[in-house]
Symmetry: C2
Subunit: 743 residues, 2 copies
């Protein structure tokens, strides 16, 4: 019976997708409002699809070429196969499909939320949050279904059918091929996150510069050809970008835990693969409990707290997942000591594995809380920037940079504590499982994140359609909550990327056949230096790209105003699609350089200098990327809310300052600087650190120093206690192999 | 005879100091100009002394308390002594004295340069450069004398008199005690660089905000109470800060090379201590050849190139030092293979040691060239910022941040290549020797650096005294060259700090009794994360401190305008000393937090988590600190020159823009943001990474995992060739010990 357990995972994924379809249908059948509203929404939806089509065209070639190279390389080494190319393509397609799902529902839910807000706040929350849930459940459902079914396929193909060792080369090959899925997912995420980030800010800045400054028409005016691109950008960046990012993290975390799980010799009722299966099962359960959690996100009156409703749903899904994880871990894992078969490993019990899950959830929660503190209105960091706005542009910038740098302290201490704690709880497997625990409720996290931009767009549509004041007031309440959840979501995303990268890092070391990454060696230290530099050049390119892409947009808008007569008199329609295409093409063109750095640097370093130097490179990228990510996200978020504070009026040295004051102008400068920080380069750090780690994992068998995959050849025994353990484990392993052969 | 060679080093130091005294006397006897000029110079000189007095008062307590703790801790472990406290105090006193020397000559040379500029450019260059030379030669002379004589003392005390092993515990103790000198020097450097950086920018911003904005009087007006503090600040930050920084690097580099040299078993004519003695001898020779190089810095006509004259002197000193190093290395080191006695070590020859010296010099030169490119007027990076100034404050800031981040790429590749290359040339000893080679001509580098601010001040005095136009034109020529050398000097300073920190890092690992720093261990990786975060919080504190200190200054200036009648009518003299004291107190108060982080973080981590985690912390601080230093220095330098470009007029999209245009205003914002970047937090990174490494070195014996100091106990033998070498070396060592006992 236990052998059938493996089929549970894809079934949970399918259940999730069915529920998503039901929720999606419910959103679609809601009232989309009057003709003006529908027209506006239609432009945005078509623009979003135009972006996806253009992106897919480019990605098609990338996926084909990368797939061929990958398939060819898979035939070169013992522990891989050409099938990795299939896995890669499926990962890429599912990631693209997840992006489509999110974008599609977001562009439907926005106008329906506006219409719902005419009735009540409760209805508006229901529509917008259901829209977010479709995205969240869809992303997690596709990941669970894809990973679950591919694992069954590859497990049967490479392990069961060959009678191979579940702790050895056979399972290593199955997981290496499965890693292709993760590479596909993360590659698309690179385009979605970096390209989307460039897109949204290029459109935003470009629309403002010509429309507001040159033509003198208000923001979000339908006569501005770039306005639709601007609105599309919000969906492209905040919805699809975040979705692809978390889809990638989710898949990569599960993968890393599985790869590390292979190295645990486990005498269990699952043919010895319980530690490999566990992360998949936790992900499936997290999906189910996230769905249950979404049912609790509702309010009953106009005065109820939206934030409390979201928190309630979030905590219910977390607590249920923790409880379920406890029982699953106790049921699946064997009694007694477990350990990885590698140097520096420590022995742990299944209780320790559960402890790691709990640590991961705590790290995620703390990261969200800290991020919120540093970017929320009314707290010390944002207030300090407001105060420094009164002495001009420069002091506003200095204040924001200082806040951003300061905001790295607590998250890093939490992360470092989490790494160390989860390692003590369950060794390197614990670090990976902590990440898996944190990511288990991804569906819920993403629902909360995606709800924000939907509410934001809904407010914009209400404003542009000239709806009654109370409609905008209701969407504003949702939007304000959305700003808070967006900041917290970024904290969660960078924490998940960091833990995922570390789990991949640990998995990589195992596959690369090395026992240590000793930065006391000159070449490894050089790798660390070069790695730490990469997030700097990546950020530099991303920031500069926004500037250049915005200039392209400016030129196109000027051309339309010049060449299409009647736009200003509403007699002619601007060619929105042209702007959308300009922004799309510019974003795809500009993300080639950073993308190439992320994809190629680990390949070059790995093949030129070997696996240990590559390990140094990865550590450098991860450490520096996490810091630069937190710094840029939080500085940008704090600048944004410092500016927003002026809208309500702020008190500086006993004097009230409002929109239009000199201090407010200074705060606008900070906000503009913060835009590429928080929406382009900052969030791109997540992808950078994960993608480089996955690439390293994929090339590990090619650059491996010793043949890998078995327990004995990687042992680095440090004391007599461990020797005994390994001997005991070896006996257990032999038993497992015997049992498998009998089956 | 060879045994007397050891006494050569302090003799060279004394020779240097005598030449410095002669040059200093020459500067002093130059004409100091008319009464107005002398009065202005007098204010600046008194202000500078006021800063030093106030600083020394605080430092006195710090040195006494730290000295007592250090002396007490020295008695706790076998491989140290209470004498480390004496060494520490001497290091602190000499560093403070070096700062006094530099500040004293700079405040004399400035006005004399102004007066000389009335005659000719050649004369003005001679006075200002001689002033710079006094500082450079003084700093290097004190370092060579101090390190040389203390080494003789401790060598006789701990090794010769006890008949101890030159490769073992006895020499380890001598060098550990000598490390106190370096700690003293670097602690004072922390105050000078960080405090000085906060001082100069607080005074600058404070003087501008009240004087220019509120009172409406011009910059550098004698009625502004903060004007003297502003001018003092230039000397405090650029002269004394840089001097103390390089004094610290110079001493720390020599020390690290000596500590690593101890581990080389060398059968030479110097009692087996040639590898320990070599860095001292190279430093002494570099001092001599720097002095010779200064003789070539002169021009014969008004149209001659000042930059070429400086380059000529610089290259002569470098080439002579390289040539001399070759002969000294060939003379001192034995034939055949040499190697450290530790894991991961490689064998090398004395030719390799010479190769490492050359690599160090190349790294230093390349770093200067790259830094110059990224911050010079007329080059792509600065031009890109100029162009982005045309669209406003925000795009100017984005441009500068992007340039700063991009500018990390080449320096990091050069550094990584240098680390790897010097390691291949002569193992870890090679990395340290490369740093020593780079630092050998510190006297010349510092002369070139200090000449800039002297010329800058000279120009200011010319302007304020209403001297003829051609005087200002001549000082402007010198000032422009000074701006270029200042940028190059910062590149050199960060490179030297990086190599020094790495050499100290290598020395630390040896003293801490560990063989590797494996970031694959969860606790070490956590240390790496926390370490990499420290430069961010350090920068945040430094930047924020400038803001707060500037506010203190503003309040004091407002008080004086209010309470002292007649200032505006030139009837009453403002209380310049009050502003100087405010700035001094504020800077000392504000640097406590960053200083405590630098001093305490390695102590806390080392004792709480052990030597390997501390190694991770150090690596994190070094990597992240180097990146943040380069980023901030170059962004600040580029912003500064983008602003300066507007003074001559720049062409943006075919239109000329000048001072006062909107684009120029945007460039001023960038310059103001860049001020604390390039003069406070950026240069502080140098001190941060060196000081934490020295603290780690000092506490290494206290947290050592195994008793250290002998060859055998640290061996981690990797292949049979190394085993043979170690056996051979062991025999050689025994011979050496025998020989020492006979003497």
């Amino acid at each position: 019976m236990e052998q059938m357990f493996i089929y549970l995972v894809p079934v949970l994924g399918i259940v999730g997708l069915i529920i998503m379809a039901i929720k999606s249908a419910w959103v679609t059948k809601q009232d989309a409002g009057d003709a003006t509203m529908q027209e506006l929404a239609g432009h945005i939806a078509r623009g979003a699809m135009a972006f996806l089509r253009a992106e897919w065209k480019v990605l098609f070639y990338f996926v084909v070429i990368a797939g061929i190279v990958l398939g060819w390389s898979g035939t070169l080494v013992e522990n891989s196969s050409w099938i990795i190319a299939v896995s890669f393509v499926i990962g890429a397609v599912l990631s693209a499909f997840a992006g489509y799902l999110g974008m599609n529902i977001a562009t439907k839910a926005n106008v329906r939320t506006t219409e719902a807000a005419r009735t009540s706040l409760a209805k508006a929350l229901k529509v917008s949050f259901t829209g977010g849930s479709v995205m969240g459940i869809g992303v997690a459902g596709l990941a669970v279904l894809g990973m679950g079914s591919l694992f069954i396929l590859f497990y049967n193909m490479f392990v069961v059918s060959t009678g191979g060792d579940v702790n050895g080369d056979a399972m290593a090959t199955a997981l290496e091929v499965l890693a292709g899925f993760s590479l596909g997912a993360e590659s698309i995420a690179l385009f979605a996150r970096v390209g989307g980030g460039i897109y949204t800010k290029a459109a935003d800045v470009g629309a403002d510069l010509v429309g507001k400054v040159e033509a003198g028409i208000p923001e979000d005016d339908v006569r501005n050809p770039a306005t639709i691109a601007d609105n599309v950008g919000d969906n492209v960046g905040d919805v699809a970008g975040m979705g692809a990012d978390l889809f990638g993290s989710y898949v990569a975390t599960i993968l890393a835990s599985m790869v590390l799980g292979r190295e645990i010799v486990s005498v269990d009722n699952f043919g010895g693969i319980a530690p490999v299966l566990l992360p998949l099962v936790i992900a499936g359960l997290g999906l189910m409990f996230s769905i249950i959690g979404t049912l609790f996100v509702k309010i009953s009156s106009e005065n109820a707290s939206v934030q409390s409703a979201l928190n309630k749903g979030n905590w219910i899904s977390i607590i249920l997942t923790v409880a379920a994880s406890y029982f699953v871990i106790m049921y699946m894992l064997p009694e007694g000591d477990l350990m990885l078969s590698r140097g520096g490993s420590i022995a742990f019990t299944k209780m320790g594995v559960f402890g790691a899950v709990v640590i991961g959830l705590i790290v995620g929660a703390l990261m969200s809380i800290i991020t919120e503190y540093y970017t929320a209105m009314g707290k010390r960091p944002v207030n300090s920037i407001i105060k420094q706005s009164s002495t001009g542009h420069a002091t506003n910038i200095i204040g924001g940079l200082s806040v951003g740098m300061e905001s790295t302290v607590l998250p890093i201490l939490v992360l470092a504590g989490g790494i160390y704690g989860s390692f003590l709880a369950a060794g390197l497997y614990g670090v990976a499982i902590a990440a898996a625990g944190m990511m288990a409720t991804t569906a819920m996290q993403l629902a909360i994140d995606a709800f924000g931009p939907i509410a934001d767009n809904a407010g914009g549509i209400a404003e542009m359609s000239g709806l009654p004041k109370e409609v905008r007031e209701r969407t504003d309440i949702l939007d304000a909550v959305g700003n808070t959840t967006a900041a917290a979501g970024k904290g969660f995303a960078i924490a998940s990327a960091a833990l995922t990268a570390l789990a991949l890092f640990a998995a990589y070391v195992g596959l690369a056949g090395i026992n240590s990454i000793d930065i006391y060696k000159a070449d490894v230290l050089s790798g660390l230096f070069v790695g730490a530099m990469i997030p700097f050049i990546f950020s530099s390119l991303a920031i500069a790209a926004v500037g250049r892409a915005a200039m392209d947009m400016v030129n196109e808008v000027r051309r339309q105003f010049r060449e299409i007569p009647g736009i200003m008199e509403y007699k002619a329609k601007p060619e929105y699609e042209k702007c959308v295409e300009i922004s799309t093409q510019a974003s795809i063109r500009e993300m080639v350089a950073p993308g190439a750095i992320a994809l190629l640097s680990p390949i070059i370093v790995g093949f030129a200098f070997g696996p240990e130097v590559l390990g140094g490179l990865l550590a450098g990228i991860t450490v520096s990327g996490v810091l630069m990510g937190i710094f840029q996200n939080n500085a940008g978020g704090a600048w944004d809310n410092a500016k927003k504070s002026f809208e309500k009026g702020v008190e500086i040295d006993g004097k009230m300052e409002f929109k239009g004051s000199e201090a407010h102008k200074a705060s606008v400068t900070g906000d503009t600087v913060g835009d590429p920080f928080k929406d382009t380069s900052g969030p791109s750090m997540n992808i950078l650190i994960k993608l480089t780690s996955i690439v390293a994992l994929i090339i590990a068998p090619h650059i491996s120093e010793v043949p890998h995959g078995t327990v004995s050849d990687s042992g680095f025994v440090e004391d007599s206690k461990e020797i005994t353990l390994i001997e005991e484990n070896s006996e257990a392993k032999l038993e497992t192999i015997e049992r498998l052969k009998i089956q």
